[in-house]
Assembly symmetry: C2
Homo-oligomer: 335 residues x 2
Amino acid sequence: MKQIAERAQVSLGTVSNVVNGTIPVRQHLRVRVLEAIRSLGYQPSQLARGLRRNSTNMLGMVIPDITNPFFPGVVRGVEDVAFKGSYRVVLCNTDNDPAKEQAYLDELRSYRPAGLLVIPAAESNLAAELGPPTPSSLAVVCIDRRPADWKGDAVMAANEEGAFQATEHLLNMGHTRLATICGPSHLTNAVERLAGFRRALAKQGLKIAPEYIQEAKFDRESGHRSARRLLGMLPRPTAIFAANDLLALGALLAARELGLNCPKDISIIGFDNLDIGMFTDPALSSVYQPGYQMGARAARLILERIKGKKGRAQQIVLPTEIRIRNSVAPPPSDE
Amino acid sequence: MKQIAERAQVSLGTVSNVVNGTIPVRQHLRVRVLEAIRSLGYQPSQLARGLRRNSTNMLGMVIPDITNPFFPGVVRGVEDVAFKGSYRVVLCNTDNDPAKEQAYLDELRSYRPAGLLVIPAAESNLAAELGPPTPSSLAVVCIDRRPADWKGDAVMAANEEGAFQATEHLLNMGHTRLATICGPSHLTNAVERLAGFRRALAKQGLKIAPEYIQEAKFDRESGHRSARRLLGMLPRPTAIFAANDLLALGALLAARELGLNCPKDISIIGFDNLDIGMFTDPALSSVYQPGYQMGARAARLILERIKGKKGRAQQIVLPTEIRIRNSVAPPPSDE
DNA sequence: TTGTATGCGTTATCAG
DNA sequence: CTGATAACGCATACAA
């Protein structure tokens, strides 16, 4: 920087002013400086800048696992709007481990990011970790789910409603023995989906046997195990609402192994509407949840907060949409 | 930091020494300092540290698009070993746009990362951008593909060999009219796969019509278009080697739309062995390429470089493995 | 061994 | 409007 200052025959302060546009600089000086910058290939040190300003242009994003196909979309959403706002995203995977989450959070903060986007781990104590959301504290927005007693900004999908619609779809096809593979009970999105499932049943006056509700982690293997349990029960449920598509995939696999035909013997509907669902056999009916938009919306929200927007915490809920394909049919008639 | 210094009744330098273990500090002072650190919840500023040391504990990772299902695995591989080495990963998507790649690279460098992991964009001029790999320059390792005239470290899959095996599999089933949907010709992995395909044909003394080689971008839509072209040709090829699974998926879709049965009418084999391939109808045969290991290996390599390991550039090639499922059958007999 | 002082590259304040 | 100067928080060379 001092190199370019002397090259352009101006002082450091002036250089800084033209770089940041802090204060108008006389035209001819400006061009001299710009010239020098270009010719020397100067890049301001984000470290020094961050140190001085006590804030960088990084957005910390912590998610459970980029390997879960639902998350890349939301990451992309975040990154795209962040990039346009000239923010950068640093990504961390917590593996749903609250300890790892905390470690990342601590470390991230020592980099003075402009904000934090987080998809909380299963038993996150994010709220405690971050302390009360004082106006001066770091901007944080949660995506997809909220930790226990989270009072800050969040953007989520209409989990309850989506699950309700999915279940109604099953009901409309004539099913009465519905089961669900629900997600971890300490994940808000999972409990919301379960609530939607229950509400739809209740609306029809249907009771559900407790063993028809299988709790699982949001991955395929877990779905597979739960489905095997479900499909081994007597009487066997005729339809399964899986709280996400990975779970549904596991269920599909289990049905296949048991020689059960989906959808003739067992109907399955998922949640997320992963691309993969278009290709499965049978194509998986599912509830679309706008991952990319959730990420983008969260990023926009946090950019506003960073720019100083005040106001109470926002809870943004994006609509879901049921996508009917071939994994749901009327229940077998032979019973 | 000065807070904890006075709290522990020592000087700043001493605090620094216990934090970094630079210089032994007398036992009782050490515990006093540690105590103070804990009680004040002190976190060293990575910004200041980075500024001073002229290097941080961040690894910049730039990839084309996290939304491509092959990449999350390699990102996870990188991140896991980075985390263990107490490095952090900042992730950037280039969309295969060399300009965006360059922008990210420039910006990343101004954060003084410890190293850079990059899956180069399609027409990346990474080599030029980074300059010659002087011993003192930033550690960089390429993954999955190399930019034009890249002379540095790289870890890749055995693309040529994998493609060769896939093609031989097709050949062994009796196919003689083989087509390929190959990737962008400026991507090294794509040209290697095409080379493997060609070598297998040549070994059998088979000629290939130029129009049976369709170049496409590595995404499903592109694969779909190319497959429609291919499947409309007369004579129609009886087997397609798709240079990645996304392409193969597009081909599957195209076949379906055209009322062609895979594998009876048309055999398809892909590359990557994405999870999704297990679920498609028919299940997709493919060439497994160890994404996670590639990422992990690259990260280990770069950590070694960061620690000062000298020696000439390494080109690490990880083996592929053919995974046979149901999308390949002998060619239709009626011809 | 421990303390002190200097500088890393910026921005911000303030006096010209 | 411009230029000099003081922090920002830490690591290190050097003095004690």
